[in-house]
Structures are given as C-alpha cells and as structure tokens.
Amino acid sequence: MIEFCGLSLAHPIVNASGTFDAIAARRCFGDEVLERFPFAAFVSKTVTVAPREGNPPPRLWETAAGLINSIGLPNKGLEGFLIEDLPRLAELPVPLIVNVMGFTPDEVASLVQEIGVRGEVAALELNVSCPNVESGLIMGSDAGETGALVARVRPLTTKPLIVKLTPNATDVGTVAAAAEAAGADGLSLINTVRGMALNPRSATPWLGGVTGGVSGPAIRAVAVAQVAEVAARVSVPIVGMGGVETGRDALDLLRAGASVVGIGTQSFRDPAAGTRVARELAQLRSVGPDRIAAGA
C-alpha cells in the first residue's frame, strides 16, 4: 500500500486521464475489467461544465514512437457526468480521481464544488493544460494564472486537489511552485506536447483540430526532465507520466521524483498494460540496483 495525497493505493500505477474509459471497457470486456482492474486509482477523462462533442475527425496520427491526438475533450458535461457516469465509476474497485477543466475560473469553481462534494470522489485533478482546446491562452503555462486559479478553487473542496501541468511552457518549475503555494495537494505531469502532422495527399493539416498533442515513448525524455525539475521545486507528491511502456520507464519517473506513475498511450496497445507495468516495477524494485541495470 502506498499513500498518495491521503489516498491509499495498492501500487503506484494509475491511468492517465483520457486514455482509459472504464465504462466503455466494461462494455467491451465485461466484469473481468473490475476483477483485474489494472490501475491503483482511476482517473476520469476531463469533465467540463457544458457537454462537448469534441474535435472534428480525423483525431489521430501515428508518429515516430508515438501518437498525436486531437480529441478535443468530448464529454457529457458536469450534469451528464454526475448523473450517468459517476454511479458507474463508483463501482470500480479503486479510488476515483475526477479530472476537470473549465474555460473560466467560475467554471472551474463549479466543477470543483459540485464534484468535490460527492462521496464517490476521492480526489480532483485540475487540467490546466489541454493544448487541444481553444481557450485563448493556456492557463497552465503561466505561473500567475495557475496560482490564482488554484487559490480561487482550493477552499471550495476538502478533497485533495491535484494540478495537471502542461509541458508546453517555458518554465514548468515556476508554474508548479505557484500551484503548490496556492494549495495544490499534488501535481501531475506531463500532458501531451504540442505537435502536428500533414495529410500526405493534400498537404493540409491531417487532424481535424489542426494541431494535436504528442504522447507515447517519443515524449518520455521530456517527461523525465520535467518531473525532475518540478520535484526539485515542490514538496507535494507528483504523478509522473509520459511515454511509460515498461516497469523500467515507471521506475525512472519514480526516481526522477514522482510518487505515482500514470500510463496513457501504452494502454491503447494493451488494455491491461497497467497490470504488466505494475508487475515489472515490483520485480525491478525487489532486486538490487545492479541487477536492475543488467535486466534492463
């Protein structure tokens, strides 16, 4: 058992928001998903106040050791989430972390308040970073805005508040420090890195949303750097993610300063990837450092 922001987790592997839909997975795989749930906590896809259709397709492009997505945060909106999704997510065998995003501080405030009050919810993750959505300036790239936002919503819930940072910022460490100073209980990073691909036929942008976010092994080195940078600046616990494929990659993020590791794109290659990574990580940790190097 590990302790993270007051939550007790069976192991340090969780899913990255928006990369595992537990309700959909149950439709595809039945209750085996509950019996063999791959994550120690479940992080929901981002919930916004109003329902969203998401970006026009195509939404995916495969790139060197990675994926570019331009999904556009489709979701049922706050009310739809509370009524339709929350009861079903409450059936999961692990603590529930709800990821939320607002286009204004008021929106964030109502999301935090209305979701934070629900007993099914163990913690909130604040997405201040999604590069796909046109909210003008990305809040999470600015320390002042991020700090102000966290300070504003912090008093509205007693639940742990995790701030999910964007990697598309000049100085992630300072944004992280501002979030901590304003009362964040934890930080998570990295979100996807802004990227783009062209349609080979038409030479126009491939993605319906024009640009997208790069995820997968291609961004792993960026994740290690940013987790280390943030860990050096804050004392709250960190959920590290970005390109984790194996237990060794998870170990690297933990060694860089994370307490918990998120699996995103890798789950697309194997729905049960979380279980494998957790097992590999446990194996690596049960041997000495030299054996780790040899077995890498």
């Binding site: 495969e62 999904i71 729905p271």
Partner: protein, 274 residues
Amino acid sequence: MTGAAPLIEDRRRPAPFGRRRAAVIDNEGIGAYRLLRCEDPAGPSPRPGQFYMLAAVQRWGAGAGERPFLPRAFSVMRAREARLEFLLEDVGPGTHRLAELAPGDELWITGPLGIGFTAPVDGRRPLYVGGGIGIAPLAIWQDEMRGGAALLGFRDRQHAAGAALLRDVSIATDDGSAGRRGLVTDLLEDELSSDDVRTVYACGPPAMLEAVRAMCARREVRAQLAMEVGMACGYGACFGCAVATRGGYLRLCLDGPVLDAAELESALVPGAGH
C-alpha cells in the same frame, strides 16, 4: 442464429480483458489479399461484424524504425474451432508487417470488439454489398445467415480473386478484367430495381459506402454499414475513432463498426480509406 433479435448485447460478444498471444497458423495469398489464420483457444467466438486489434509480437515498430506503433483493426472473416481468419491487404506499414507473418510467428490480439450485424426483420432477405477488402465481414455474416446474394466490386481481376471467399456472388471490376465493368453500386442499382424487399449489408471504401447509403435511403431500403476509421485502441479508451452521425459523434469502435445507414448523414468519413 438466423433471426437473432437486434439487441445490442446479441451483437457484441465481450472480449477477454487485455491483449493475448495468438499463434499464426498460416498466411495465404488470395489474389491481392492475404488470408491470415491464427489460433485463439482463449477467446469467445465473435459475432459477425465484430473486429480485433492485431499487432505482431515481433517487429511491431520495425522497418524504418517508426511505424507501426499502435495495433490495427481487422474484421473477423471467419471463426471456427478456436481459429480466427482475417483478410487483409498490404496498404501501409501495419498491414505490410502482418502480410509477411509466417506459421510459428505470433500475434497480439484483443477482441472480439465492437458491435456486429443484425438479421433482417419483416421477412426481408439479406443482400451483401462489398468493395475490395470490405468483403471480409460479409463472409462470416453470409455464413451465419445461410445465404443471400453478394454483390462485390474490385479494382481488377487480381483483387476479384477474393470473391471466392463468399457464395452466390456477382462481380464488378473497375477495369472489366473480371465480371462486369463498372462499380458494385451499378450491380446494386439493378438488384434493387428488380427486388427491394431487402436488407443491405455493406462494407467497403467510404465512397462506396456513401453511394450505397444514398441509394438505399432513396429507395427506403434498410442498410447496415460496416465502417472503417483510424483507431488507436479499439475499446473506447481514446475517443479517436469519432464518426459523425445524426445524433452527434460516436466512437466507432464502441458503438460500431456496424452502423445503421439511417443514423448517418454521410458515410464519407474523413481520414479513412486509401
């Protein structure tokens, strides 16, 4: 199973959770296509129209060192005695790698996934309309339906070899090198003119599906379309496979790949096809 009730859960056989290894039995050339067979002792038998996410265990990420990275979606073409059959065409790095697999190689498979076809109601008879590689899901469905005519369109004679995988077929080719010269929708036009008490089951490239959809809509013939779009996960996790319907976007891997044509304003899905 003819006349199965159109309940969603009858159209979806749940998959074991997680990807699993499957030994390649053989990989046979059929004209321009490859028929890839693998063992699947652990899996349930799929419903016709369902699909699997496939990747090679070895060298998925090889070649130029970049793609394929994600698994690829393939309709099941036949399933018997714990063996699965897929039909594929080498059109890119993923299908290229699968096309070269040999007996003894292994696949990662996840599935069956998605929702399959439903049987006709009101005494209508099934009519299968396939374009190119789109014949794959029609084969297993024709088996289960125990018959019905199949209208199949191909680029040329080499591709038309795939027609041998179905029964009761009429063929059109773009270049007239096999069957009638023209489009499969020409065959469909004729067929529906003489008998429109039909339910159409179609699979093929977007332009063909759109022509079928429009033709059936005009004649008020019910049609189910097995569609394709780029997928990353196949199980509803990524929201990447959005298809616009009259009711908004849906995830094709979860609420398809078989859609009722009436749900669509257009079957011309962006980013699909070659």
